[in-house]
């Protein structure tokens, strides 16, 4: 099957659109939160907004390669890094909001929370992974790292699992939404079952050799 690759100009225009949409939404929500118009508790509002945005962006990023493969749209892969970096961007804002506005720079409380609250521990672990992936997203680093790059970036699957458990544990009792996300993520991971089972089997084989 032949598909026409969009022109370079069209791809750039699409990327600019993604930037403008994402950044103006972020700006709009921060405007509402700063002026006390984002619900009765703007701190909770902005933390939830940035966290959910990070999770949604992560799902979008993970949807890119199955879409590209199954619909024969290889040019879609050109958006994956950009979307992935937006995951990191929203995760940074989410963490910053938590420290600046929720804990209000009480760093001893922050350390306690990270150590003592399992859902925050998981969230921080996911953030460490996302940071590593963002730092190694530059092209020349990717070339330098060779096959190690792919091994490192496979940690995105660990990150998505950590993130969704972080979400699940953070809600008080209404788990409908986290459960919907868990099902979506299982769906996205099923597209990669061969790759994932290959990696898992190789891990097991290596451990049993030792």
């Amino acid at each position: 099957m032949m598909t026409r690759r969009p022109s370079r100009a069209a791809l750039i225009a699409a990327k600019i659109c993604i930037h403008l949409t994402a950044l103006s939404w972020v700006g709009y929500y921060y405007f509402l939160a700063i002026t006390d118009q984002l619900g009765s508790d703007p701190v909770k509002g902005i933390i939830h907004f940035t966290g959910m945005s990070a999770l949604n962006m992560l799902l979008l990023t993970l949807a890119v390669s199955p879409l590209a493969r199954n619909f024969n749209l290889p040019w879609l892969l050109g958006f994956r890094r950009l979307l992935g970096l937006y995951v990191f961007f929203f995760a940074c804002l989410h963490l910053l909001n938590f420290i600046l506005f929720e804990l209000q720079l009480d760093f001893s409380l922050f350390i306690d929370e990270v150590i003592e609250r399992p859902y925050i521990t998981l969230g921080m672990l996911a953030f460490v992974i996302l940071t590593a992936l963002a730092i190694t997203s530059f092209r020349h680093l990717k070339r330098k790292m060779g096959r190690h790059w792919q091994t490192l970036h496979n940690l995105i699957y660990a990150a998505v699992i950590l993130v969704v458990i972080h979400f699940y544990w953070s809600v008080k009792s209404d788990i409908t939404e986290p459960v919907i996300y868990i099902l979506l993520i299982i769906g996205l991971l099923l597209f990669r079952r061969q790759k994932l089972s290959y990696y898992l089997r190789r891990k097991v084989a290596r451990i049993s050799q030792q």
Partner: protein, 341 residues
């Protein structure tokens, strides 16, 4: 916590100076108008990509807002706190009332057509003289007074609310408890037709309804314990528990059960809803206690919901018994509060 107005532009909160922001002085009606405007614009559709749950303007316009009525009441100088009040608009739009949805903005949206009249509040159990109050009697049988209390939610946020109501103890005395009466059990209305959270477990957060709560009788008879029928000078809006709710200011908010239809004096400790749902997280006593953390978060401090946006420094230390230790600490003097949380 003390807030003193130091000069025109700064206030001291918890010993730290902060400057008043525009939102500190934004008039209540302007605030409401802005919210209305946002609601009118119906901002949600385009935001769904970034965030699936809009807080802002959740689309449902409140055309048929529940009508509250002005109440006559006696101003009580005895029960007040020096803290700044939480604006009325926030008190009536940030609610945990899972019967109308488990997100904070949902009760205000889903409860507006709730019927409070006729109402029937049954008082019975281990008493000599059981009785029932109808809607009118809720407001006419006892002297209504104003009590300004802190409300500390177990989720680590808090408000300061001017309640209207009467002491629960006065109502209990009228029923003449027998010598067997050691606890007081409360029950919220069960009406799935009116309460979407009771119709669907998905809306109601997986709770088994009706919502039930309980107090030890000495807690119930404490003069701080209030049966509230109003706030901010008017009858209660449904999202705040109309027409009658409990207010126990030294306990976490979930103890203060809403829209009560039954008060039973009992011999045994009654079951309580959140304790049934997650006994390791929510105890029967649920006294505000900065030293006993929730398994998933710290209770040492809280964020006070007041006027102001993101940059308001509203994190304050949580006080033992929510600052009401003088009146209630004696009730628990021989108890290990880390076990009886």
């Amino acid at each position: 916590m003390l807030i003193k107005v130091k000069d025109k532009s700064s206030v001291i909160v918890d010993g730290r100076r902060r400057y008043m922001t525009e939102s500190d002085v934004t008039d209540e009606s302007v605030y409401q108008q802005r919210r209305q405007l946002l609601r009118g614009l119906g901002f949600i559709g385009a935001s769904t990509l970034l965030w699936t749950n809009g807080i802002v303007g959740s689309g449902k316009a409140r055309a048929d807002t529940f009508k509250t009525q002005d109440l006559d009441f006696a101003k009580s100088n005895a029960q007040t706190v020096p803290d700044a009040l939480t604006p009325e608009a926030k008190v009536i739009s940030h609610n945990n009332f899972y019967e109308f949805g488990s997100q904070k903005h949902q009760p205000a949206e889903n409860a507006q057509s709730f019927r409070v009249n006729p109402w029937s509040l049954k008082v019975g159990g281990e008493v000599e003289k059981p009785f029932t109050l109808d809607y009118e009697q809720l407001f006419s049988q006892f002297v209504i007074e104003e009590r300004i209390y802190r409300l500390r939610c177990v989720e680590a946020w808090s408000m300061v609310i001017p309640w209207l109501g009467f002491e629960l103890g006065k109502l209990i005395k009228r029923a003449q408890p027998t010598s067997k009466a050691r606890y007081v059990a409360f029950k919220t209305l069960y009406d799935p037709e009116q309460m979407p959270g009771q119709r669907s477990r998905l809306v109601g957060g997986g709770i088994d309804y009706p919502y039930v709560e309980g107090l030890r009788i000495d807690e119930a008879m404490n003069p701080l314990t209030l049966l509230s029928v109003g706030l901010y000078g008017k009858t209660l809006p449904p999202q705040n528990g109309a027409p009658v709710r409990l207010v126990v200011p030294w306990k976490y908010g979930f103890k203060s059960i809403k829209s009560i239809v039954e008060i039973q004096l009992t011999e045994k400790q009654p079951p309580t809803t959140w304790n049934i749902l997650a006994p390791h997280e929510y105890g029967f006593y649920a006294n505000v206690n900065p030293e006993v953390d929730h398994p998933r978060w710290s209770q040492a401090s809280e964020r006070r919901i007041t006027k102001g946006g993101l940059f308001t420094r509203n994190r304050i230390k949580t006080q033992m018994f929510n600052g009401y230790g003088e009146q209630v600490a004696d009730l628990y003097r021989d108890m290990d509060l880390s076990k009886n949380y």
